[in-house]
Structures are given as C-alpha cells and as structure tokens.
Amino acid sequence: MWDLKFALKSLKKSLGITLINVLGFSLGLSAIFFLVQYLTNEYSFDDFHKNKGQIYRIAIKSYENGQFEDETFVYTSEVGKAIKSDFPEVDEYVSLTTPSNDVFYLDNAPHKINDYIYAGASFFDVFSFQLKEGDPDKVLLAPYSIVLTETLAKNLFGNEEPVGRQLVLNEEPYTITGVAQNPPTNTDLGFNMLVSFSTRYKQKNVYMGWNGGNQYVHYVKLVSKADPLSIEKKADAFMWKYINKDYEEIGIKDLLYLQPLSDIHFRYNPESASLKRNMLIFSVIAVLLLAIVIINFVNLFIANASKQLRNMGIVKVHGASRVQTLKHLLLEISIMILFSILVALTLVQFLHPYFEALAGKAVPSLMESGWTFALILLGIVMATTFLAGIFPSFLISSVQPSKIIKNELTVGQSGKKLKNGLVVFQFVVSIFLIVGTITSEKQLNYMNRFDTGYNKENVLVLPLQTQELQQKIDLLKEELNQMSLVKNVSAVSEVPYNGLTMNGYFPEGRTTPEMINVIDVDEDFLALLDISMVSGNNFAKNMATDDNSYLVNESFVKKMGWENPIGKTITRNGEHKIIGVVKDFNFASLRSNIKPLIITNASEIGPPNFLLVKSDRANLSQLIGDIENKWKAISPNSLFEYQFLDQQFEKVYRAELSIQKLLRSFSFLTILVALLGLLGLSRSSINNRIKEIGIRKVNGASSQEVLALLNKDYVKLILLSFLIAVPLAWYAMHKWLESFAYQTSLSWWIFALAGGITLLVALLTVSWQTIKASRTNPANSLKTE
C-alpha cells in the first residue's frame, strides 16, 4: 500500500515528464499492437479449417520439350473429379472457379455482385465455413443453386427471408438455397456468394474438359494419415492417362503436385513473394518501434533520475534496503507501463477502422484477435517492462546515501553515454525510415508517371456487364460518338493495365504453340490510346478481311526474330495475317517487362467487355451524367458503372501504395515518439544545466551564444546518426528497388532531405526548451537554496 501510494504520488509530482513518457509509450505500443495484429492475422490464414492438415491444393508444373515453362494452380475443370475417383487416398475434392463479378437481377433490378465463386458440392465439408441457413451437404448440389453471405443477403433482401428466392443471370434463374456466415478475414478463399459448380456444366459457352478453359482451382481432402507424396508419385501415370498422352505430340507435359493448405498463403499464391517481403518490412518496423519506445522510456527515466536519486537516497538513509528501493522504482515504472498499455489498447480498439484503411485489407479487431495475439501481446508487455524497468531501477537504486548529504547527485558518465547512445539509435532509425518513405514515394511516383507507351488521361472505362449491352455495342458507340465532349470510343475485350489473357498460338514456322497475351479491340483502339504504329496498317473500318488479321507489338517481333513481320501468319482457329506492328506499351504492371502481344479484331476471344471513352476535357463529371442517360436509354435494365483509366492504373500498385501509406504513417509515428523522447530529455538535461547557463551568462555569454552551446550537443548526435544511417538506408533501399523492373534512382538528395528534416525537427524540439533556458535571468538560477 505504502509503495503504491508513494509511487503514485511520485508520478504525480513529475506529471509533465510522466505524461510525455506515457504518451510516447502508448502511441508506440498501439502501433506495435496493430502491427502484431496484422502479422498474426497473416500467419493465421486458413488456420481455422478443421481438416487443414489434410487439405491440399492441386498445382501443375508445365514442361515444354523437357524445359520448365510455367507453374500454376489455375487449371482445367476435370482434374478434381478424376483425382477423387482414381486415388483411394483422396477422401473428398472440391472444385472452384477463380472469383468473378457479374450483374445479377433481383426482381428485374440489376445488382453487381463482386467476388462470387462457383464451388463444388462438398465445399462446406472440406472447408470449415459455416452455414447459417441450409444443409451443408445439399446447398451446392443442384445446378443453379446459390449460397449468399449474411452481408450480401442483408443487402439484397433486408430482413426478408432469402432462401427460396431467385436471382437472374443471363436470363437463367438461380435459386438461393442457403446463407453462409461471412468468411473470416484470414482466408484466401473469401467469397460474397457461392454458386453450385454443377451450374458450369449447364451454362452456355463454357468449356468443361481436360484440354482448355483454364480457370478452375481444385482442393482435395486426403483420408487421415494419407501421404501426399504417394499421390505425387502416381501422378505421372494419372496425368498421362487423362491429358499428357494428347499433349505428347506438341511436346507439352503437365506434372501434378499438391500444395499443403497451410503453405499456400506465404508460398504458393501469386502475391506470396511481395507479401513475405512486406511482412518482413512490417516486422522490422515493429521491432524498431518497440526499441525506440523502450529507449524513450529508459531515457526519460534516466533524465528524470536526479529526483529519483534524491528520493531513493533519503529513504535509504531512513532504513530502506536496496531491494525495497528497487521494488519501489519497478512499481512506479509498472504503473506507467500498465497505464500506457491501457491507453494503447483503447487506441487500437478505437482506431481500428483507420488501421484497416491504412493496411488496405481487413484485419480482425481486438476482440476477434484470439489467443495467439493475446500471448504475443503479453510477451511484448513483459519484455518491455523488463527492459524498460530493470536497467534504470538498478542504476538508481544503487545510489549511495552519503551522496545526498553532500548533494552530489548526478547520473554518472556511463549514464550519460548510454543516454547519448540511445538517442543516436533513435535518430538512426528515424533517418532510415525517412529515407525509406521518400524512396518508396519516389518509386511510386515514377511508376505512375512512367511513360507506359499509351495515353491514359481522360479515358473512361465503362464495363459492359450484360449480354444486352454487348450486343448493342455498335449502337452504343455511335450514340456516344455523337456527344460533343467525346473524342473517341472503342470496345475492347480487356483493359490493358494489369495483364491480359494468354492463349496458345502457332506463329509462322512454329510447330509448338506459344503462350501469348492477346487483346481484342476495334479499329479505334490505337487512336484512342495514342499508340503509334511502327510499320504496316491499323485495322480498317468496314473491311471484313481485316477481321481475320492480327496486329502484334515490337516485343513479339523481337521474340520471333523476324526481319519483316508484315504478311507473316499466326495460326489459331485458322490462319491470320499480320498487317501491322505497334510500338511497345505496358499492358501489365511495371513490375515486369513488356511481353509479346497479339491484337485481334474479330471478337474471337469473346464479346467486348469494356467500352473506352476518350474526352478532350479533364473534367468528365458532366459527361458522365450524359453518358449514363444515353446508356439507360439504350439498355434500361443494365447497370452503369465507370472508372477512370489512370486511376485503375494506379490501383495496380495498391500493394505498393498500401505499403507506402503504412511506411509513411509508421515513420511519422516513430519520429514523433522519438521527438517526444527528445523533448523530455532536453527538458531535464537543461534543468541540470541551469546553473551552468547562469554562470556563463554572468560571465558575459549572450542568449544566442548559450542557445548555440546547448544545441551544439544535439547537432553532433544527429550528425553521428546521419553517418550511421546513410549506408544502412542506402543498402536497404537498393535491395528494395531491385524488386522492380523499372526503378527510380536513389538520389543523394533523398539522404540530404532525410538528414535535414531530422535535424530541423530535432532542433525545433530542443529549442523549445533551450530558448527558454538561455533567456533565464542568471540571478535566479544562481541563487543558492
């Protein structure tokens, strides 16, 4: 009781520094807690499935003439069913499509439903997603069955009963058979809606078979204790039986292997590599932040030590043992830490939506975070208390009581050195993070401004989401072209900013197919995006012969090694003549180099899915309204959506953008915490020097000279930090930039700016205290007690 009372009173007495300390500590901790939340969430991906140890995803490695070509888990439709029937080790399988977006009609009202997947009947048996309504064994059995998530059901039906109701897609009714609980945030199998996989076999224009239509993903659940290796060993014969014997003549061989569910998120997904890198970055930031927070705590405690030393000296003279003083100091520290943790947890809870927005993905809230998170939190708290508490306590509790009688109470040279060392560490981290922030900002800017080879300014992207719109495309184009603000309109199969479909083609002289990106466009496409021709001609309007012709890009010609490509042919569903070569443009993200491309004009890869509208005005809001009216007039029951091409293009870098945002926020926070520490530190270090300042002033020093003297020490520390931080930051940024195909340069001004910013804000912080001190009347500071 006494100890607690004394500790609280002692904290209250030095309220200013206590608050600075608690504030910095809470801010830092809340950021760390959030990062831990984020990290544990990533590590817990698809951890909740009861059968997770038995679930595998089927993956394929393709070889061409013995050469490794490609590795993918998106394959043809029949492999799941076949593996279940051929292997006794396979207990169950579930086939899925990759997520798609479509417009469904509910009572004739269009609803865009994003991220819905077709899923096999055993979906709820293999995976541990929960149904709120419906029988898990039957909901996905019959064709045209739909399972909604709670959220979607609520959006579509409000409080009405959804089961039994129908949604319409392409004039076919689908019946709702169940409602699923919303999938947790930590799954790669998230969905808004499920449609029975058997539906795929009934839909028109859908190819279900072994040798085409690569858009299916298959999971298997093995019988317990079955060895996946035993399947992989027999997989050669299996694949031969179903597909490789047909592929043999063109030299292609597909090998099947199994990806354990628990490895998928970090190893086998397309974004696994960048995810892993980001996890590393975040982990490093969390650790650095933790270090800074602890250092602050220690520094402020040491800075405040003269008061503590005096008190501990007094109680020792009056009978307190060292253990008792230690106990007291630790108690005081623990109270501060406990309080900070409570503040931090409140912040984490309160700021959760902002954190999520920052991370650019769903992260479970504090209550949803589970035991692992709680345990890690406890570990962090204990480690922090230990590191932040033990050292200063030992230092201070060792005070010799005779020192108080002689009024010789200072923290020795070692304390000062340590303090300076810790300050340097903080500034090294700050400068490092600022360099990181500026560099990533610069890289992002570079990618956004990069000349992609086409003009994406003032281009609207309008998705053609219904068959009706796709059929009325000519009318749409004509109507829109008549509008005064519209410069050009073009119908395309895909929008060229984030990769395009690949198909197998036989260029002239080749006996094996080449997998090549393809985009289907009309004759207005090149003009609309300012893509220039290198040689040959664009598709001509109203010339049926051109429907059969192809354009290719420079990379294609280069890959083929052709001197004169015009007039050569490419075979796929007949022979196609190359009539022109276009200049290379980036149709995929700038992470990779420009690949070969075929441009077709025959709708041979399906009807156009998007309309591009180019305006010569920057302000498109008026135009959008007008287009919507025309749109609705032509197809009253369709959904009108629009995007801006340049914004879509930027979205491709969402991962980088999200990293960038996080980096920026956490750098800011880290620097803020470091500055709070510096504020407290300069405050007490100046209190300790108040007498010295008085003496100097009495002996003729001006306020400016005193200010310079006081600031000089901090300038030295920051210079030292700068020298340490620059090579570290240079190396790390160099490594990071290497992961981009097109990279910005690491200019010297980035480092100068980072150093300058740090010096400036640090001096501003310190000067707040030093200016006051340098102006004090020496008569006051030199008065003896």
């Binding site: 006494w2 007094i314 009056h318 009688i405």
Partner: protein, 220 residues
C-alpha cells in the same frame, strides 16, 4: 560509551597523490553528550559525520559503536546498525516533496517494519511533541524552512535513535528559526538524546557540551 574512533584515516587518490580527508581522528562519545564539530569549509566536518553515521567507509583505523566493531562489519550489518540507532538531520532538510508531513514522518517506520497501528501512534506522538498537528496534511513546499527542519528532526527522532547526526541543521534558516532549532536540540539532549552536529556558527556550537575543531582533516 556510545562510540569510539581510534586513529581513523580516510583519503582519496588524485593524480598519483594521496589527499587526506581525515587524518588520525581519535574520538570518544558518551551517551547523552552534545558535540559540535567546527572548522572551515573543506576541513572534513561532513566527512567525519558521514563516517560516524556509517554512510562513508574509512581507509584505516577502528570504529566501535555500542560494542560492535564497525570496521569489521559487512556493508549490510553496518546499514542495519545505523538504521537502528542513528537519526539524520540535513541542512536542506531532504523531505520527500511528494509526501505530506505526516507521511514523511511515517516513512522510516515503514522501512523498519512497524505495524500500521503502531506507526499511527508514533506519528501522532511526534506531531504532538513538536506541536505540528495542524500541519500534518501539508506538503513540504507549503512550510517555512524552520518548519521543514522541525519535520526533519521529528523524522530523525521517530524511531527513537540513540544518536542524532545533524549536518549544519540551521544552515538554510534565518537567525530566529535557527535559534528555535538549537533550543529544540538542547531540549532533546536534556531528555537524553546524544547529538553530534556540524556547524559554522560559534553561537550554535555553544549549545553543545563539547566542541571539536577540525583543520585539514585533523582534530586540533
């Protein structure tokens, strides 16, 4: 006999030279004495007081306190000894700023493991004896220097020490307050408390029964 110093030497080494802080000090103190230690600044007064108070070690000689040989005792035993028998009074009072008068008085009792009820009684007793009951809930900063020193002395006395060591107890006080404090010491001494004070003032030294003069660490 309360304590006895035989041939006490204390020195520091500075730049290869040995500088003596105390040189061959011989001193016997009987219970009930009131001794004043005098001497110019730097003559070793406070050092001697710290040696007697066992807060500072010495380099040579013997020190016996109540039949115990202090020079042979381990640090911990020595600490126990002074905690039990010696009370300290400081020039700058050294009260804990964050505690009230009452709590400051209670503090030493807590470390000496007195029970709560005992502590209350002893504190009440002491407040009464020094006529500061009305000030018990005030903080040191709310008291005058003389009143603070009064609390300091009350705190030194609260666990009934055999010896009070006072290092310039009136050094920060005006003459009237100083006089009152010295009167209090005199009264305490008459009640049987042994007192050793360090002082600059001839007048204050007169309150004592014996004066020891130091010069350059040596008794003269």
């Amino acid at each position: 006999m309360l304590l006895q110093l035989n041939n006490i030497f204390k020195w520091v080494n500075s730049g290869g030279q040995r500088i003596f802080l105390l040189k061959d000090i011989n001193l016997e103190v009987e219970e009930g004495e009131f001794i004043s230690i005098m001497g110019p600044s730097g003559s070793g007064k406070s050092t001697l007081l710290n040696v007697i108070g066992m807060l500072d070690a010495f380099d040579e000689g013997e020190y016996n306190f109540l039949e115990e040989s202090v020079h042979d005792l381990k640090e911990k035993h020595r600490a126990n000894l002074y905690k039990e028998y010696i009370g300290f009074v400081f020039q700058s009072y050294h009260l804990l700023d964050e505690l009230t008068v009452q709590e400051n008085l209670e503090m030493p009792l807590i470390y000496k493991k007195f029970k709560g009820s005992e502590r209350k009684a002893m504190v009440a007793d002491m407040l009464d004896r020094f006529s500061i009951v009305g000030k018990k809930d005030l903080f040191p900063a709310q008291l005058s220097g003389g009143q603070q020193q009064l609390v300091g002395i009350a705190r030194a006395l609260i666990s009934n020490p055999k010896l009070i060591l006072a290092d310039e107890p009136t050094g920060n006080l005006n003459s009237k307050q100083g006089e009152e404090i010295m009167e209090l010491f005199k009264q305490l001494n008459e009640e049987g408390v042994t007192i050793i004070q360090v002082t600059h003032s001839e007048k204050n030294a007169e309150y004592g029964s014996r004066i020891i003069n130091l010069l350059d660490g040596r008794m003269i």
